[in-house]
């Protein structure tokens, strides 16, 4: 008897990396048949990232010009090839249209990384409304952290429909960290090769949401840091550095493998990007962040991230403090990753099968005490 077919829908490199461990776990558990479905804006990078995990997309639906068109295309696919359940990840790209299309056809929706919220009900933009709607059309909500699970309960999602699994991004990092290919980006290859005999420490700066004035201050701070620390390489993501130091390079959007290698080699991350902060943590790298990210408070509570002010001296001192003391740096991540224990994908796969009546639901990820949350 054929196994029930599960469609894992994604469209970006990040989604591919977070879905891949779930597909692998489903294959290992052999209770359902996972089919990865490329339905987002970056089918090529989606496929490339899956390739790192020895997986391929079994189905592809071109992303529509808008969500309505993507829903239409997925509906057409599922009218003839109806999966037993659909898995979506996060709240960007194809997640909402896929969940809506599945709900329309009464196909159960399993939502990975569910419950992330900024807490601002009146927030402008569509991120928060779309997150809440995605929750409402989902059947099973797999939360990466206790705060996310609590957000769902606050929105009256039945407790029995919520499972704390952890984030599969950590599982992905653990799966590939020892077999990452060499850098494809020539600038990164040159920078890191130059320091290969006595590897330089690496500071990754990702300030994609920071305005020009502050960016100038950051660039100036980076120049002072490289002058003070001769063993420091700096990669500035999404922006060009200033000056002519060969130890500072800029990088545009990176393939998942390059980004993963970069973070695996990083000593420290300075960022205003929640995704980068979270990805850094999957490789055990602490982050200095420009401001609180209200949908990602867990690293702050766990001590893995620290807010650093915009003044050049403050930034310089915060980075220098961690460069000067490996112990201080390591202590930030000593309590582990608040987003998981490396078993999220196994729980997600088991929960999906259980939802379809194949075996029991897994135990939730053991939740550690979280600062700021009373028990």
């Amino acid at each position: 008897m054929p196994l029930p077919e599960i469609h894992l829908v994604g469209g970006t490199s990040t989604e591919a990396a977070r879905l891949a461990p779930v597909a692998t776990a489903m294959r290992e558990q052999a209770r359902v048949e996972p089919i990865l479905l490329a339905a987002g804006p970056e089918p090529l990078t989606f496929a490339q990232t899956l390739g790192l995990f020895d997986l391929t997309a079994g189905l592809a639906v071109p992303a529509g010009a808008d969500n309505a068109e993507t829903i239409c295309r997925l509906d057409q696919l599922w009218s003839t090839r109806t999966p037993a359940a659909v898995v979506v990840q996060g709240d960007a790209g194809a997640s909402l249209p896929a969940a809506v299309a599945a709900y329309w056809r009464r196909i159960p929706v399993i939502h990975l990384d569910a419950g992330r919220r900024s807490g601002d009900l009146g927030a402008t933009g569509l991120t928060e409304p779309n997150r809440r709607l995605l929750t409402q059309v989902s059947t099973l909500h797999l939360a990466a952290a206790p705060l996310a699970a609590m957000n769902l309960l606050d929105e009256r999602v039945p407790g029995g429909d919520v499972l704390l699994t952890g984030n599969t991004g950590l599982d992905a990092a653990l799966a590939i960290r020892d077999r990452l290919p060499p850098y494809a980006d020539p600038a990164l290859a040159t920078l890191r090769h130059a320091g290969s005999t006595a590897p330089h420490r690496l500071l990754v700066v990702g300030l994609e949401h920071t305005d020009g004035v502050l960016l100038q201050l950051v660039r100036a701070t980076v120049r002072r840091l490289t002058a003070r620390y001769p063993d420091l390489d700096v990669v500035m993501l999404g922006t060009e550095p200033s000056g002519r130091s060969r130890r500072v390079v800029g990088a545009g959007p990176l393939a998942y493998a390059d980004r993963a290698r970069l973070l695996a080699e990083a000593y420290l991350v300075l960022t205003d990007d929640g995704d980068l902060q979270e990805e850094a943590l999957t490789f055990g790298v602490p982050a200095l962040i420009r401001h609180e990210m209200s949908d990602r408070m867990e690293p702050l509570y766990a001590g893995c991230a620290r807010v650093v002010g915009p003044e050049p001296e403050t930034m310089l001192n915060a980075v220098a403090e961690l460069l000067d003391s490996r112990v201080r740096r390591d202590s930030m991540t000593a309590t582990g990753n608040p987003y998981g224990d490396g078993r999220a994908a196994k729980r997600a796969a088991q929960a999906t099968a259980a939802l379809l009546g194949h075996g029991p639901f897994p135990e939730p990820m053991p939740a550690r005490p979280t600062a700021g949350v009373s028990r």
Binding site: D66, N67, A68, E69, I71, C72, D75, V100, Y103, W104, L121, G122, P129, R132, L133, Q136, V137, E155, R156
Partner: protein, 116 residues
């Protein structure tokens, strides 16, 4: 006749006779609000939304052979809530209405919506 468009125009303009006429006698209704629902209750709640909201607009629409999915933006005086509506249509009448509200925003910006 574009039944879905006529339906939207009817309920957002509080045209209850037209709304009732569009619903098949055995229409099935579901929603995710914390209240029981049938066709009478659906008509009552849609009327309350139409009256209370500053505006109701369709921000996305997907067609299928036997119906449509519509995403509404329900703008109230102090904020906006979204709702997705799935319609099944047969012989020019609506045979199924499934509504998914952003319940958190709906409860906040449309207080007492489904209280009797």
């Amino acid at each position: 006749m574009d039944v879905a468009a006529f339906w939207t125009r009817s309920w957002t303009n509080d045209d209850r006779p037209a709304v009732r006429k569009l619903l098949a006698p055995d229409v099935e209704v579901e929603w995710n609000l914390d209240a029981a629902v049938d066709d009478e209750e659906l008509v009552r709640i849609l009327r309350k939304i139409a009256v209370f909201a500053d505006s109701v607009s369709v921000v996305a629409r997907t067609e299928a052979e036997d119906g449509a999915a519509l995403v509404y933006e329900l703008a109230a005086p102090f904020g906006t809530a979204r709702m997705i509506e799935f319609l099944a249509v047969a012989d020019g009448r609506i045979t199924e209405v499934r509504q998914v509200y952003d319940v958190t925003a709906t409860d906040r910006f449309f207080p007492g919506l489904y209280e009797r």
